[in-house]
Symmetry: C2
Subunit: 189 residues, 2 copies
Amino acid sequence: MNTATRKEEIVAVASSLFKEKGYNAVSMRDIAQEMGIKAASLYNHISGKQEILSTLILYLARKFTSGMQAVIDSGGTPLDKIKEVIEMHIDITVNHSEALAALNNDWMHLENEDLSNFVRMREDYEDNFRKIIKQGIEEGDLKPRHPEVILFSILSTLRTLYLWYQKRGKLDVNVLKKDMVAVLLEGIV
Amino acid sequence: MNTATRKEEIVAVASSLFKEKGYNAVSMRDIAQEMGIKAASLYNHISGKQEILSTLILYLARKFTSGMQAVIDSGGTPLDKIKEVIEMHIDITVNHSEALAALNNDWMHLENEDLSNFVRMREDYEDNFRKIIKQGIEEGDLKPRHPEVILFSILSTLRTLYLWYQKRGKLDVNVLKKDMVAVLLEGIV
DNA sequence: TAACAAAACTAACGTTTGTTAGTTACATAT
DNA sequence: ATATGTAACTAACAAACGTTAGTTTTGTTA
């Protein structure tokens, strides 16, 4: 068992505690206890509590960034791209539902360059999505609604998916994608 | 200036600090400093940090509960009721955008009966909304999508509205309601 | 002016926090 | 058998936390 693996274990355990109580309400002693060791032993594998948070969040932020880049490069219509973004979000959520809580709720506890890098990535992400939506409206694929309302109604739904995906009996991923795309794009009436 | 007013002032100041950093990252000294007094002085008006949180959250939770009851009693079609729920959320968000952060992110730090009361109110709220949606599907007003997907895509959007409502140049409330209802009900394509 | 209540203050308390230092247990390689 | 490196341990630190006790300031009422 090498150090890298042990570190990943710590990050994984911390993720699920952060999801329950938030970054600041989880102590190093809590994390250690959950792993069956003492708090001081954690420092053989990580440099501090901050590193756990930044490892966690920046790993996911990079996934979203590269996922968005893949969508942009895909060459489809704006409507195709929106579908791809939705599906990407669902894929990441299904595979990392524990860690997503920290990304959504605890990013402001990042420090220095980690914080500014995250904020920049998040702004870029939203900007890219906004451009796709605006292009869709210009080309007549989308109804002429306020782009900001479209952007945040889709993004809000996708970003909080991690909260209810698992507690509702683990819907099949493909069914979820299909229904989600339908509801978000075509509405409900 | 009576005690009740001073307490409300504390709760208001705390709300906006909680929104920025979360309940556990805000100290009594932070709150006091923001008010220009010392931490110990806060205890002339409140019994403790917990009381700030529970005052804040339960006040809002009751607003949502009574708002939902008004919708149920309104006697409209399921579709009418969904529109009313959306408009109610927007009204509460516009009037209490600071305090909504704690309701969404810090409710788990409530204690004892406050916690159980809140959880019950939240479950009841979702149940009531779910019933409206299911009835809408049965009566043919809504497309036959998975009710859970409809419920949470609408609710997620409404619950995170406080995050972006003000930073996007304060859209007019009535325009926001109109666009939001349109996007959530009729989709974007 | 004296009395009173409200709301601020200073000082300190016991805990909990993240973290460091130094030490021990144990498996693997020489 | 010895040496080495990994990963656990105990003990302790300074700082920050929520909170309490007792005191002073301030403004209003009799």
